[in-house]
Symmetry: C2
Subunit: 225 residues, 2 copies
Amino acid sequence: MEKAQAGARGTNGNGERAERSAQRDPERTRASILAAATKEFAENGMGGARVDAIAERAGINKRMLYHYFGDKEQLYLAVLEEAYIGIRTAEKAINLSDLEPEQGIAELAMFTWRYFLEHPEFLSLLGTENLHRARWLRQSTRLKELHSQLMGKLSELLDRGRAKGLFREDVDPLHLYLTMAALGYFYLSNQYTLSTIFGRDLAERPNLEGWERHIVHVTLASIRR
Amino acid sequence: MEKAQAGARGTNGNGERAERSAQRDPERTRASILAAATKEFAENGMGGARVDAIAERAGINKRMLYHYFGDKEQLYLAVLEEAYIGIRTAEKAINLSDLEPEQGIAELAMFTWRYFLEHPEFLSLLGTENLHRARWLRQSTRLKELHSQLMGKLSELLDRGRAKGLFREDVDPLHLYLTMAALGYFYLSNQYTLSTIFGRDLAERPNLEGWERHIVHVTLASIRR
DNA sequence: CAAGCCAGTAACTAAACAGTTACTTTGTGG
DNA sequence: CCACAAAGTAACTGTTTAGTTACTGGCTTG
């Protein structure tokens, strides 16, 4: 029925393997499983995620999922690793060397906030991973080698700011990073319970913009002399 | 075999129902189911929690769980409600009226931090509830009536501080509350991934104490003139 | 061009799971 | 003191679940 079609589209005369049809594309299959699994795990957690739901979302046969990833846990680990690689890659691209220290810190705070805002699935996976006390993260040699680029940039800015007499002498870069991350993470990951309890939709545009300004304000206020 | 024992202990001559034996104690059964369910849901989330595990932890027959709570979802809701009632009750007990504004804010920040620190199951339930976009919290009329006492106390302190010229004019009490809560929540709920990535155990005593001081410092720095 | 491997399918299985049935025991109010 | 309701048990059921088996189709390479 579709055999003729596959034959016709598989090759195109010159040896080049052109834009091949949907059939038989390992990389694409793998990627679509990973994307589907990311959604499913982010929406339902490890315990709530369903292997069958992932297969359906990816439009593949469940057997393929086991073929490429082994089992549910290894698939989850692959999802987690990809999510961390995503943020680490984005961090690398930041260039702050020609900014004033205060401006640089503000940029880092906004970067973290916006990354969280645009990647809710990353926040959700973090929540799931912490529920399980970092069981899979601790297993992953790949992720333990993948250090955050942010701490280095933060330290450099702090040094420059201190030299100029702008910042306090005793600022711990880790504390500073945790402060920025905490303000963004909590607001977004807990937005549903908070919105319900305070009767105010935290996801509305003006509220989001107000909170971004607040994060920058708090971060800078905490390190200034 | 044990019937005679039960008869002997059930009543003690005067009509008073003395310290009755373990048999047939509805309140105790209900309470032990609730305690077991709190642990199970906090450790595994909604999707990962097992009804059989709850029954076993509570030392009761699974049938009783359905007898008292209806089904798994209603039991989860009861657990969530009890957890919120716990923090709201603790909040009520705080008295700040004879403290200076700065001292009062510091006390509130430390209260929130210590409550989170001592009630990890509450943090975990919040995480689960937010994963599900506050699905059960929104259903609960009981919880929607139960307003946080903290916002009122916070506003009062802010007013007093402003009158004395200590605090900025434009501080939003909700932003202030979210700031304190965010700093505590993130540090504790994400301690496992953070400890793994930064290679530093955030749960160690000196680190916990340092973070408490940091929360107070940041909170106050963000509202001072 | 065939041998063999890789991608893919459909249908199955054993265990785990939430929830139920049918029953017994125990305390209490008329 | 007995009738009846509430508390409790044990064993069961239908469904969902992760993971498997046994197979087909197609691509590459010696």
